[in-house]
């Protein structure tokens, strides 16, 4: 399954790159009977108060009610203590300063007003911090995100460690929210409009060196290696020592609070003093947001409004706008969908099958094509010894080059050093024979999608691998049990469906047959998690889950094209619904040949339900060599180095020869969108009904992360919940009248339509 990555900007693709814990749920808000503080304590070192945060019930600190209450108490004591001249704020946790607000606190609210209230409380607290007569130094080690960042930027001075775990950012937008405790007001003042917009609207995490350059932090502290204590412990101590010195310097006015502005900064400030220029910026940002979100995501637009209110009308209006919009956004279905995806993603990053008996250390990948090499790339840098086997020297060379390039690109972007690249590559062994397979713990087969070839490979491999070795097959549609049919040890056979490009797409669909053992599954999940994947585990069947959902939608897309809708228009309709990639472009990316193959196979398996567009359209295109992007022509014409794509008129001619007359009753723009989406969604619900899917959560994650189902809708199941199963069924019935059983709602969907209290997500 191929998928275009480059076009997936901000709000879509953030979900493919979230690897950090943003806002962690803490269940710590138990009533504290005694007044003893458990989350915040402080120590006075000479004239400096060192305030330490440590949530005892969680791996990370969050701004929970308890944390806020204790912090307020502590700060009041410190402000009232004449012996204290300055303050250091630090976390005792190695990997977390403050990872954000407590998400449960927001989710527990039922009205926008309640959430606005939370925001205003935060605003008031940080205003006091900002106006503190005693300088406060935020000493940051680990994640400083969301409310944590807002706390830090209200302090007078920030020192951060250069740890890989130290990241600063406002990820609220990824959850359909905005920084609701002063972030939209302070960041523009601190960084200037362009940087502030970039940071708040993308939610991107900023690494310490960049933060220093931007002016987000004042000073950096190195991480330390082994000493007389563990590196983590000593690094925090060192950070504290440096911060205490800085706090003293600030109190004595030896360290100036405002830095002499550079020439570029002065020029920028001067330019920004013109309202006309600022208006231009608002317009540009607004247009960019609209272009990328199609207006489907309310949060970025509200962020622009808040920033604008603060800059143009002053802080009172700005803070008010921020708290009110924050409250409203928290109640939007988009925010709920995005938060749902966030929770789902956390769930799918855990192994629900227990720890495997044997830790897989050596992987052998068969086939050094795009997929095989991609799988190798995400394995070598996680410490797997990886054998990459191909049948030809040319194929192997191309594959090894792909792995090298993937890692070298990271070196160029400075996310790894050239030395790390080299040491990762030392985990890779490229070869043409089965040498060393006797030490392999897992085989991942990524050869051509042809059952007889897969059988041949499986038999060959089983002759050389040790008894414990797992055989995983990377296929997008062939049923695993058919592949396993020739295996001597079917309990060791499993499907691992990676998505292309493997190093960018986060989803891994693992497919188990009736015979696959629990330990085999546990091991495959463990390997996938180590490779950094978000994992869904599904049952076996033609197309499993993801391909099975995509196929009917693509079949419908072909019918729509046959009805004379231009590929560009079709793309516009699908992206307008929230898909990151339009249906016609997606077909080109997947490969018209693959689409034809899948359509035919699944058509055979599922019958007329998978009909719609004529498969012959795809076959004729393939005959003419229009296999999609890889062949230079598909629905569009692709020219190397050219971003603009023209519609392939020869493909239009083929469509013309298979022309269908559209039925006006079901051919409005909205009808076409729902024809496409309802077939996708119905098939997804059917997968749950049939037990292919274990849970709606996995269904949502698979659809969004693997197929680009609109993240603002949260996945097919959340979509049914929020749109209403009854409304969806009503639409499908209308289509059913015209097109027949392709639109017959499945039983589970009907059940939900009948009983509105039935929801896939609570």
């Amino acid at each position: 399954c191929t998928h275009e990555y480059a076009q997936q900007k901000i709000f879509i693709y953030v979900f493919f790159i979230i690897t950090i814990i943003l806002l962690f749920c803490s269940f710590s808000r138990l009533f504290n009977i005694s007044s003893a503080r458990t989350h915040v304590n402080y120590e006075i070192k000479g004239d400096v108060a060192v305030v330490r945060m440590n949530d005892p019930n969680s791996r990370v600190n969050t701004l929970s009610t308890q944390m806020q209450r204790e912090m307020t108490e502590v700060m009041d004591e410190i402000w009232g203590n004449n012996a204290v001249q300055s303050v250091v704020l630090i976390s005792s946790k190695p990997g977390s300063f403050i990872a954000g607000a407590d998400l449960n606190m927001i989710q527990a609210c039922t009205t926008a007003e309640e959430v606005t209230g939370l925001s205003q409380e935060g605003q008031r607290m940080f205003e006091k911090v900002e106006k503190s007569p005693k300088p406060i130094v935020a000493a940051i080690n680990g994640s400083c995100l969301g409310g944590g960042l807002e706390f830090a930027i209200s302090c007078q001075y920030r020192i951060a460690t250069k740890s890989k775990k130290t990241v600063l950012g406002c990820p609220e937008v990824m959850l359909g929210l905005l920084p609701g405790a002063g972030g939209t007001q302070r960041l523009p003042k601190m960084l200037g409009l362009p940087s502030a917009f970039d940071m708040i609207l993308t939610g991107r995490s900023i690494r310490p060196d960049k933060a220093k350059k931007m002016g987000l932090v004042h000073q950096l502290v190195d991480t330390l290696g082994p000493g007389l204590k563990s590196p983590e412990e000593r690094t925090i101590e060192y950070l504290e020592e440096v911060a205490v010195e800085a706090a003293r310097g600030l109190a004595k006015k030896q360290i100036p609070l405002t830095k002499e502005k550079g020439l570029m900064q002065k020029i920028q400030d001067y330019v920004m003093s013109y309202p006309f220029v600022r208006q231009q910026i608002y317009n540009t940002v607004q247009n960019k947001v609209m272009k990328q979100t199609k207006g489907l995501y309310p949060a970025p637009l509200k962020i622009i409004e808040c920033v604008k209110a603060g800059v143009e009308q002053g802080p009172t209006a700005g803070y008010l706008a921020e708290s009110q919009h924050f409250g409203k956004l928290a109640m939007t279905p988009e925010s709920k969908a995005l938060i749902g995806l966030y929770h789902g993603q956390v769930t799918c990053k855990k192994n629900r099958f227990r720890t495997p008996e044997k830790d897989a250390k050596t992987l052998a990948i068969l086939g050094a094509g795009l997929m095989g090499a991609g799988i190798a790339q995400v394995s070598v840098d996680k410490g797997f010894h990886t054998i990459l086997k191909d049948t030809t020297l040319e194929g192997l060379s191309r594959g090894e080059q792909q792995v090298y390039k993937g890692l070298n690109d990271k070196t160029k972007k400075k996310s790894i050093t050239s030395f790390e690249r080299d040491s990762f590559l030392s985990n890779l062994t490229g070869q043409l024979d089965y040498n060393g397979f006797n030490k392999a713990d897992m085989i991942i087969e990524a050869v051509f999608e042809d059952l007889s070839i897969k059988h041949k490979v499986l038999k060959e491999v089983e002759a050389v691998i040790p008894p414990h070795c797992i055989f995983a097959t990377n296929t997008s549609a062939l049923p695993i049990k058919d592949i396993a049919a020739v295996s001597k040890r079917p309990e060791k056979v499993i499907g691992m469906h990676y998505f292309s490009p493997v190093d960018k797409m986060q989803l891994l669909e693992i497919i188990t047959t009736d015979k696959t053992s629990k330990d085999t599954t546990a091991s495959a999940v463990a390997v996938g998690l180590k490779q950094g994947k978000v994992i869904i585990v599904v049952g076996d069947g033609p197309g499993f889950y993801t391909t099975r959902c995509l196929a009917p939608m693509l079949a419908e897309a072909v019918r729509v094209l046959q009805e004379g809708v231009d590929p560009k228009k079709l793309d516009g309709l699908t992206t307008g619904f929230g898909f990151p990639v339009g249906a016609a472009t997606l077909a080109d990316e997947v490969g018209i040949d693959v689409a034809a193959h899948v359509a035919e196979d699944l058509g055979k398996a599922f019958g007329s339900r998978f009909g719609g567009g004529n498969v012959e359209v795809l076959k004729t295109m393939v005959e003419k060599g229009f296999k999609g992007r890889k062949s230079g022509k598909g629905c569009y014409i692709y020219q190397p180095g050219l971003k603009r794509r023209d519609v392939n008129t020869e493909a239009l001619e083929i469509l013309e020869s298979y022309k269908l007359t559209p039925n006006a009753a079901v051919s409005s723009d909205s009808d076409i969108q729902y024809r496409l989406v309802s077939r996708f969604v119905n098939e997804a619900v059917l997968c749950l009904q049939e037990g292919i899917l274990a849970s709606p959560v996995e269904g949502d994650i698979g659809a969004v992360f693997g197929l680009g189902f609109p993240p603002c809708l949260g996945g097919p199941f959340r979509f049914v919940d929020s749109f209403g199963a009854d409304k969806l069924v009503e639409k499908m019935r209308k289509f059913e009248e015209v097109f027949g059983n392709q639109f017959t709602p499945c039983q589970l969907l009907l059940d939900h339509a009948k009983d509105p209290s039935k929801k896939f997500h609570k």
């Binding site: 000073q219 502290v221 190195d222 991480t223 330390l224 290696g225 082994p226 000493g227 007389l228 204590k229 563990s230 590196p231 000593r234 060192y238 440096v242 010195e245 800085a246 050093t417 030395f419």
Partner: protein, 433 residues
């Protein structure tokens, strides 16, 4: 007197003598020389000091770190220039700051294996001139120019040169694997072990004070006089400058700003210098009528994480070599540790004194213990005498031999750290007087 470390079936190998040129801050009196000139001076000095017939030398091994490309086998060029027989083979070794230690142990190996009886080992470093290269792009163009056949092809190549290609490439004193400079790593190491700026300055001051005292009382007898062409005779190290704590406290951190603790005053400085030693089998030395200065006994090389433990070589090497020799720290009378940075020495001392570190990182049951300061680098060290990278090892070994003679101890220990996260230690036994 304690037991000897001689082992049955193992040849006794002795240090006959060792010399070095004065160690000078780079860019001073040696500035116009080439590395092999300094090496020549050390080799000739050794010949003069020992009265060794040139053809009695079986082999020459020399260390260097920053290579002059014209004399990449500097051992051979220096040997020829110093008038050694052209029948004496010579090779160059490199192992960062323990290069001449490697040269010496290579010599020990050649003798122990029965291949040689008399080997000269040494090391040279010349920081007054280092290879500064054209950029890779420029080099590529120039190499293609060599191959271009027609005028047109040459002109088109010349035309491809851009201003940016002319920017030179300077050699970095940074780890290749981590891209971190050594000073930066030393500052982090000091912080990891909680070594304060004050402790570092105090140690640096101690080094300079002891070096000055040793220089003034003529203890640095390994230094030979060297007539530098066009300049005066040099016979003293010129980097020894005892300062005051107040003066040193004024310096700003050199690497980690603004809160670092490593400064120019508590680091070793860039130095030019060369050293040489004569190593022989005991039989041969006695047969030739020499009175050896010391036995070279067990030695070890260690290596560890080049990022966070770059300069902890002595901590790892010391217990290992002591164990090998069946000694404890208390048995050692003379310690000579290479002082790369005051912070590095203090960190090593703290690591050696820590049971937790020994257990957590070295897989040992207990700490080895820190050397008593009265036995430690008591004639100064690299911080004050200077540190020509590849020449320091021979200075350490010769100094141990001289101190054992002067102070009357039996065992000495040399230990040093080196770039790449490597380290070395050697046990030296006094030759019965």
């Amino acid at each position: 007197i304690k037991k000897t470390l001689a082992k049955p079936g193992v040849k006794n190998i002795v240090l006959v003598d060792g010399v070095r040129t004065p160690f000078l801050q780079s860019g001073t009196i040696y500035a116009d020389l080439m590395p092999h000139d300094l090496a020549r001076a050390a080799l000739q000095g050794l010949l003069n000091r020992t009265g060794l017939p040139k053809d009695a030398v079986d082999y020459i091994v020399y260390g260097t770190v920053i290579q002059e490309v014209k004399t990449s086998n500097v051992a051979r060029e220096a040997a020829l220039g110093a008038g050694f027989s052209d029948k004496t083979p010579a090779h160059t070794v490199t192992m960062a700051c323990i290069s001449s230690n490697q040269a010496m142990t290579t010599a020990v190996g050649l003798i122990a294996a029965g291949q040689c009886d008399a080997v000269v080992a040494g090391g040279v470093e010349f920081m007054s001139d280092v290879p500064i290269r054209h950029s890779r792009r420029m080099r590529k163009t120039m190499l293609s120019l060599n191959k271009a056949k027609t005028l047109g092809a040459r002109l088109s190549l010349l035309g491809s040169i851009r201003l940016a290609h002319l920017a030179p490439e300077l050699p970095a004193v940074a780890e290749f694997s981590t891209a971190e400079t050594m000073g930066h790593s030393a500052d982090r190491l000091a912080a990891a072990f909680g070594v304060s700026r004050l402790e570092q300055d105090e140690f640096a001051l101690r080094s300079h004070t002891l070096a000055k005292k040793a220089q003034d009382s003529g203890l640095l007898s390994d230094v030979i006089s060297f007539k530098v062409p066009g300049k005066d005779i040099v016979s003293k190290d010129n980097g020894i400058r005892p300062s005051t704590m107040e003066q040193m406290a004024k310096l700003k951190p050199a690497f980690i700003k603004p809160h670092g603790t490593v400064t120019a005053a508590n680091s070793s400085f860039l130095t030019d210098g060369a050293s040489a030693v004569l190593i022989m089998s005991e039989e041969k030395a006695l047969a030739m009528g020499y009175k050896p200065k010391a036995y070279l006994r067990d030695f070890v090389y260690v290596s560890q994480d080049p990022k966070d433990q770059l300069l902890l070589g002595p901590t790892y090497a010391t217990p290992k070599v002591l164990e090998k020799s069946g000694l404890t720290l208390n048995d050692i009378d003379v310690f000579e540790f290479h002082e790369a940075f005051a912070g590095q020495i203090m960190a090593n001392l703290k690591a050696m004194e820590s049971d937790w570190f020994a257990q957590t990182y070295m897989g040992r049951k207990t700490k080895v213990g820190a050397p008593p300061m009265e036995k430690f680098n008591s004639w100064g060290g690299s911080l004050s005498l200077g540190h020509p990278f590849a020449a320091t090892g021979c200075r350490l070994v010769t100094t141990v031999a001289h101190r054992l003679q002067k102070e009357g101890g039996q065992y000495g220990l040399v230990a040093a750290c080196a770039a790449g996260g490597q380290g070395h230690a050697m046990v030296i036994e006094a030759y019965p007087q």
